[in-house]
Amino acid sequence: MNSIHQLAGQAREVMRRDTTWPFLIPRRRMVDVSKDIILYLEDLNVSFDGFRALNNLNLYVNDGELRCLIGANGAGKTTLMDVITGKTRCDSGSAWFGQNIDLLAHDEAEIAQLGIGRKFQKPTVFEAHTVFHNLELSLRCGKGVWRALTARLSGSERDRIDEVLSIIGLESSRHQLAGALSHGQKQWLEIGMLLAAEPRLLLVDEPVAGMTAEEAERTAELLTSLAGKHTVIVVEHDMEFVRSIARTVTVLHQGSVLAEGTMDQVQNNRDVVEVYLGEGA
C-alpha cells in the first residue's frame, strides 16, 4: 500500500502544473555572472607550426567592462579572439564564459548563440543583402534551418531593427545594398549586426581602421555607450582611439599578458615601454 501511495505521490509530482519537466527546460543556459566576471581565460596555449601564438595567457574580464587589447603584430590578439569564439582550438588551457559555460566545448555557432558577438578586422557584411536584411539575419532568434524557412518578422523584431538602425545611424540607407555602403558605414553596420544579436560579450577587432577622424569619434561614442549593458573587448592599434575609450587596457606581448591597467599606468609600465612603446617613449 505504501508503495502505491508513493507512486501516486510521484505521479502527482510529475503532473504538477507549476513545474516544467526537466527535458522541456530550454537547453540554452544563461550565462552565470554572479561573480561579476564574464570571461575567464587561463593558461591558454596555441601554436602554429612551432610558432607559439598564445603562451600561457591569463585574462579575466569583468561583466559590463570595456576592455582594450593592444599589442604589436603577432602578439596574439586575433588568435585570442579566435579561441574565444571557437574558431581556433587551443592546445591547452581553459576558457570559461561566466561561471558555468566552458567555451572550449562549443563551436562557433553555439558560442555565438550563447551571446558572444564578434566583429572582424576587415568589415564583413552580407553584401548582396540590404542593410535591413543584414540586421534581420542578425536578430537574436532561432537559427535552425526550419525556423529560418518559416520565420516571419514580428513587430517587436522590426522595432528592434529600427532601433539598431538609429543607433548606427543608417536609417536612411536601410534599403540600400550593404555592398554599396562606404567602408565606415560597413564597419557600423557590422557593429549594428552585433547589437541586433544582443550579445553579452562583444569582441571588436580594429573598429576604426580606415575611418575618418570624425567617423572614429562617433564609433568611440558608440562603443562607450555600449559598455555597461554589454561587455566589450576592443582590439585596436590607434592609440588615440584607445585612449579616448579605454578604462582598462591589457597589453599582449608574444602571446601572453605583459601589463594591465589604465592607459596611463600601462604607458608608464617599464616592461611595456621597453618592448612595445620602446621607440615612441
Binding site: E110, A128, H129, L137, L149, L177, A197
Partner: protein, 397 residues
C-alpha cells in the same frame, strides 16, 4: 537599328518580368501555356495539319524540361549558396535508375525471354534470382520512394561529411566530380545488377499506360511541366524566405554567418539534399520520356555541361537556369544537326565567353537592358540606388 529597338521593347517587357514575384509568375504562365498548347496540338489536330505538333517535338520538349529542372537544381546550390557541384548528374541518374527499375519490372513476362521474374539482361547473363535491391521496385510508390531516398541519402551523407569538415570551393567541386565518376564506374560493372553499359531499356508501360501512346507522352510532358513549375515555386519560396537570405549570406560571408550563430553546415547540407531531390525528380521524369537510362548519365562531362547551362542563363536567378538549359539544349539539337564538328568548338567557346565576359549570364544582359529601360521611364536616379536594386534582384527569383 530595327533589331535594336526590338531588343529595347523586349527589355522593357523584361523589366517588368524581372520584378520579383510578378516576373516569375510570367515564366510559370509561359511554361504552362506552351506545353498545354503543344499537347492540345498533338492530341486534337490531325497529323497533316500545319499546326500539328509531332510526338517527336513533344518528347523533345519533355527532355528539355527535365534538363531545365536539373539546371535549376544546380543553380539553387551554386547560384545561391556558392557550392559548385560537378556531380549533380549522379543524383539525376540515380533518380532515373529508380524509375528505370520500376519500368523494367513493369515489362513482366513481355520481355524477349518471357521470364516474369527477371529482367531480360539478367536472364541473358544467367542470373538465377532477383538481387535484393530490386525487390519492391515493381510497386510505383516504392520505386518513387527509393528514387528519392537513395539520392537524398547519398546527398545527405556526402554533404554531411563534406560540409562538416568544411570542404569548400574547388575541393568540393573535385570531390563531387570524383563521386559521380566512381558511380559511373560502378554502374558500368555488370555485376552490379543494373544492366551494365546497356543500362535499362525497352520499357513498355508506366502505371498501366502504354509508354508509346501519344496520350502517355503528352501526359508525361504535362507532368514534367507541372513538377517543374512546382519545383520552381517551392524553390522561389525558399530563396525568398529568411532561409534563402541565410543561404546567400553563407555564400558571401560564411564566417560572418557562423559568428552570428548560424550552423552553416546544416544549411548547406539541407540545401544540397533539396537540390539533389529535385535532380532526382528530373531524372525520374527523364527516363520514361527518352526510354533508356545507362551509366553514361553519370559521366562527369554531363554534370559539367549542366553547370554551363546555368552559367549561360545566369546563375543566382532561378529563371535564368531554366532559360539557359532550354536555350543551350535547343542550340545543341540544331547545331549537331547542321555541323556536328563545330558543336564542340561552339560549346567550348560558350564556356569561355560566358565565364570571362558574362559572369552573370544572359540574365545579366537582360537586366542591364531592363535597368536602362527603367531609367528612361522614371528619369535618372542615382547610379548607386539603381545598381542596388539591380543586385537585389540577384537574390530574388
Amino acid at each position: 537599328m530595327n533589331t535594336l529597338s526590338a531588343l529595347r521593347s523586349f527589355g522593357q517587357w523584361f523589366a517588368e518580368f524581372r520584378q520579383p514575384g510578378r516576373g516569375s509568375s510570367w515564366l510559370v504562365g509561359i511554361l504552362l501555356l506552351v506545353t498545354l498548347t503543344m499537347s492540345a496540338a498533338n492530341l486534337l489536330l490531325p497529323a497533316d495539319s500545319p499546326l500539328y505538333v509531332s510526338t517527336y517535338t513533344i518528347t523533345l520538349m519533355g527532355k528539355y524540361l527535365c534538363f531545365a529542372m536539373l539546371a535549376m537544381a544546380v543553380d539553387i546550390i551554386w547560384g545561391y549558396c556558392g557550392i559548385l557541384s560537378l556531380g549533380h548528374g549522379a543524383f539525376f541518374a540515380l533518380g532515373g535508375y529508380g524509375m528505370g527499375m520500376y519500368l523494367m519490372r513493369q515489362i513482366g513476362d513481355r520481355g524477349v525471354y518471357g521470364n516474369a521474374d527477371l529482367p531480360d539482361f539478367m536472364v541473358f547473363l544467367n542470373w538465377q534470382e532477383l538481387p535484393w535491391f530490386w525487390f519492391g521496385m515493381d510497386q510505383f510508390w516504392f520505386a518513387v520512394l527509393m528514387a528519392l531516398l537513395v539520392p537524398g541519402l547519398l546527398a545527405f551523407g556526402f554533404g554531411w561529411l563534406a560540409f562538416r569538415s568544411r570542404v569548400t570551393g574547388v575541393y568540393l567541386s573535385i570531390m563531387t566530380q570524383a563521386l559521380t565518376y566512381a558511380l559511373m564506374l560502378a554502374f558500368f560493372r555488370n555485376e552490379m545488377g543494373f544492366g551494365g553499359n546497356n543500362g535499362l531499356t525497352d520499357f513498355k508501360d508506366i502505371l498501366g499506360f502504354d509508354l508509346q501512346a501519344d496520350g502517355t507522352r503528352v501526359a508525361l510532358l504535362l507532368a514534367t511541366t507541372l513538377l517543374l513549375v512546382l519545383a520552381f515555386l517551392s524553390s522561389r519560396a525558399i530563396v525568398q524566405s529568411r532561409l534563402g537570405r541565410v543561404i546567400v549570406a553563407v555564400r558571401d560571408a560564411e564566417a560572418r554567418a557562423r559568428f552570428l550563430g548560424y550552423r552553416t553546415e546544416h544549411y548547406k547540407v539541407w540545401l544540397f539534399v533539396y537540390s539533389a531531390l529535385i535532380a532526382a525528380v528530373a531524372g525520374m521524369l527523364y527516363v520514361p520520356q527518352v526510354g533508356i537510362i545507362n551509366p553514361g548519365e553519370f559521366s562527369p562531362l554531363n554534370s559539367i555541361e549542366v553547370v554551363v547551362w546555368v552559367a549561360v542563363g545566369g546563375r543566382g536567378t532561378l529563371y535564368g537556369a531554366i532559360v539557359g538549359a532550354l536555350l543551350v539544349n535547343y542550340a545543341k539539337t540544331r547545331f549537331t544537326a547542321l555541323m556536328p564538328d563545330a558543336w564542340l568548338f561552339a560549346l567550348g567557346a560558350l564556356f569561355v565567353i560566358v565565364t570571362v565576359y558574362l559572369p552573370r549570364g544572359l540574365a545579366g544582359i537582360f537586366e542591364r537592358f531592363a535597368v536602362g529601360m527603367r531609367r528612361e521611364k522614371h528619369g535618372e536616379k542615382s547610379w548607386r540606388e539603381n545598381s542596388g536594386q539591380l543586385s537585389a534582384g540577384e537574390v530574388s527569383a
